[in-house]
């Protein structure tokens, strides 16, 4: 049972809001990702498709298209660096390399303990404040400089420790 009863019911409760069940897909993906460890596993894809009565490949297509959904496990702090045009022109490639050095992981990879992962993403829609980094679904970090990265990572680590009460 990839989806709990509660989760299924939460998704079903959305159906009346739309003319078609398939329209609930994005909402359902958000719910699933929230409650199932931050990513949408293959069996969750099948379960969602079953609920919405669509082909599972439609679900996978959507998961893979949007950067806020993940078809593989990501770190607790998922660092998304925009490497589209404006951000690349303003040093985004350097940020990716910088994170690689600090965290020891390349885009698409996760640190051994699962604390961090890094990903290059398409335009985040904030080109005026390029380069832009986004951690999970939090507000954008704008005009990020190479020098900011160390304190950014340290801040996230402190926050994480506080959260688990270390």
């Amino acid at each position: 049972m990839p989806l709990s009863h509660e989760l299924e019911n939460r998704i079903r409760a959305e159906f009346p809001k739309y003319p078609e069940k398939r329209a609930v897909l994005l909402t359902a993906l958000h719910f699933v990702q929230e409650e199932q460890g931050g990513w949408v596993a293959p069996d969750c894809i099948l379960a969602i498709a079953g609920l919405l009565e669509i082909d599972p490949i439609d679900v996978k297509e959507v998961v893979s298209f949007y950067h806020m959904f993940h078809d593989h496990a990501v770190g607790q702090s998922h660092l998304q660096v925009c490497t589209n045009l404006s951000c690349s022109m303003r040093g985004a490639r350097g940020l990716v390399r910088g994170l690689e050095e600090i965290l020891g992981v390349r885009p698409g990879e996760m640190t051994p303990g699962g604390e961090f992962s890094v990903e290059e993403v398409q335009c985040l829609g904030s080109c005026g404040s390029a380069p832009v980094v986004q951690v999970n679904n939090e507000p954008f970090l704008e005009n990020v400089a190479l020098a900011d990265l160390k304190s950014l990572v340290a801040g996230l680590q402190t926050r994480r420790r506080a959260a688990v009460g270390e």
Binding site: P42, I45, I57, K60, E61, S64, Y66, H67, N84
Partner: protein, 546 residues
């Protein structure tokens, strides 16, 4: 003579001017289609005549009078008075730009790519690209040579994301295995975990893929395409009669690919038909004639076996009458061969116990027919039916078991065995005085034959097949038969000569066809030469005449 666009045929005609040339087009039809139908080449990747419009590759951009920006010809409907320029500098620039972007990440591994020689990317790069690269950035890496399904190999680096394969699995096979995943420059073609590209038509994606990203596993790294000799023919796999090209290299079939015929198979064929040619060059193919003596089967020259067959037929007929002879044929011979066989049976042997054995398999509502022989309809129309008071297959089997039929001549014993069942087929063989087998492939009956005559395959023959709706289509020889093997029609001609005591009439398929047209009502008015590449349905001809 194009029969395409039956669906838009009712729409009014409009006049379109392309590069100063006025052409007639169907209103609303894609401009690209109208251009191509009139021999005006506009380069394109994502457009395919049998798939929905995608508009994703931008290669087909043209200049349309009165419009500021270039437009894609695949998504521009033909309207009255449209004036189009496909040769302006701006168009050439746009094409060069598209080519440059497509090649930025292309691996350029043409030397080991099966598509090389029939690759749109190669051809257009030469014709429309710029001949040097401006980028030195490392190329994107991707999956190489991975099976994306049991019969198709995928090379992600070569994909140009035209989505033809996606549309094929969505619109034609309706199996939905392929999709574009990801976004932007990280997009890629993929399948769902546990659901590989596996449907009865899967290898068509290798044909629609304009580059070497999707390839037939069967043809993978087998032969450079420019060494293939291609022969227009018809698939022998079932009674649909899909039009094909047989690609051969040094007398060996390398691949079959579909050939467009909108009245039969559009541009598709099924995997079973495409990959079913192996029997032609199989190691266990029957290449030798054999005759049984006291010591068992002995290999003999074919003419000795034919003489022995004629003698056996004559003896049984003289001693027990024509009713003691039964003939069962497969549905794999040509009309011309069946016509000769029917003549031999009716006139020379005067036997009326003649029928076909055609195995039934799975069929669908697209191309695949349940009867797994190309020409059963033709066989019947040529007279391969039980004569008046004659026995059909069931009757023949019963008569053998009752000892009334003493000689059975089976052409295609593998199909006979499939239809009758091995056990009963063997029991039947045990009851006979003489069992003549005329075979390409061995069967459970092979070592029971009194006389074995090696047959020829469709790939070695000229002639016609009649598909399940009655369309008469030509097949052409792509390879030669093995040394010492005659075409089945030549065997019938030799037997007719031997039995009638007259000189054998040479078997010339085109003149036999003319005899058929004169003798068989349904074929009246057909001429061998006029069948052309696409075949003819006699019903249409008659309608046209009437």
């Amino acid at each position: 003579m194009t029969e395409a666009n039956g669906s838009t045929a009712k729409n009014p005609k409009v006049r379109v001017v392309i590069d100063g040339r006025e052409i007639e087009a169907t209103a609303g039809a894609p401009l690209l289609e109208a251009a191509l139908d009139n021999g005006i080449e506009i380069p394109h990747y994502c457009y395919h005549p049998k798939l929905s419009i995608d508009g994703s590759c931008r290669m087909c951009q043209v200049q349309i009078q009165g419009q500021k920006k270039l437009a894609i010809a695949c998504n521009t409907p033909c309207t009255e008075g449209l004036v189009v320029d496909t040769r302006s500098d701006e168009v050439a620039d746009a094409r060069r730009g598209v080519m440059e972007l497509l090649l930025v990440n292309h691996p350029l591994d043409c030397p080991i790519c099966d598509q090389a020689g029939e690759c749109y990317l190669q051809d257009y790069s030469f014709e429309h690209g710029s001949h040097h690269a401006r980028t030195t950035a490392p190329r994107r890496k991707g999956l190489k040579r991975v099976p994306i399904g049991p019969r198709v190999v995928f090379d992600q680096e070569r994909c140009i994301l035209c989505r033809r394969c996606v549309r094929f699995t969505n619109e034609i096979s309706e199996t939905n295995e392929l999709r574009v995943f990801g976004i932007g420059d990280t997009s890629y073609i993929g399948t769902l975990e546990g659901r590989p590209l596996d449907n009865p038509y899967s290898v068509n994606v290798a044909d629609v893929c304009p580059v070497g990203a999707l390839l037939s596993s069967d043809f993978h790294h087998k032969r450079r395409v420019w060494f293939l000799e291609e022969t227009e023919s018809v698939c022998p796999g079932c009674s649909n009669g899909c039009n094909i090209k047989i690609g051969a290299f040094r007398e060996e079939i390398q691949r079959l690919v579909p050939r467009r015929n909108d009245a039969v198979n559009e541009t598709w064929m099924c995997d079973a038909g495409r990959l079913g040619y192996g029997f032609v060059g199989a190691a266990d193919r029957i290449r030798e004639a054999r005759v049984c003596d006291d010591q068992g089967q002995q290999v003999v020259a074919l003419d000795a076996a034919i003489t022995a067959a004629a003698a056996a037929l004559r003896r049984v007929r003289e001693e027990h009458g024509a009713g003691a002879i039964g003939i069962v044929a497969s549905g794999h011979l040509t009309n011309e061969e069946y016509f000769r066989l029917a003549g031999l049976a009716r006139e020379t042997l005067t036997t009326v116990s003649v029928d076909l054995a055609v195995p039934l398999g799975e069929g669908d509502d697209f191309l695949i027919r349940a009867d797994k022989a190309a020409n059963a309809r033709g066989a019947r129309e040529m007279g391969l039916v039980p004569g008046e008071a004659g026995r059909d297959l069931a009757g023949i089997l019963n008569a053998v078991e009752a000892g009334e039929i003493r000689l059975l001549w089976i052409i295609g014993s593998k199909d006979f065995e499939a239809v009758v069942g091995t056990e009963r087929a063997l029991a039947i063989a045990g009851r006979l005085e003489t069992l003549i087998l005329q075979d390409v492939q061995p069967s459970g009956l092979s070592d029971k034959a009194t006389i074995q005559l090696p047959g020829a395959t469709w790939a070695e023959k000229a002639g016609t097949f009649t598909n399940y709706v009655g369309r008469v289509q030509r097949i052409r020889p792509a390879v030669h038969s093995p040394e010492g093997v005659l075409l089945d029609g030549e065997i019938f001609a030799a037997l007719t000569g031997a039995l009638s005591g007259r000189a054998a009439v040479p078997f010339v398929p085109s003149s036999v066809f003319d005899e058929i047209a004169a003798a068989v009502g349904a074929y009246a008015g057909l001429a061998h030469q006029s069948l052309g590449g696409a075949g003819t349905n006699p019903a249409d001809v008659t309608e046209g005449v009437g």
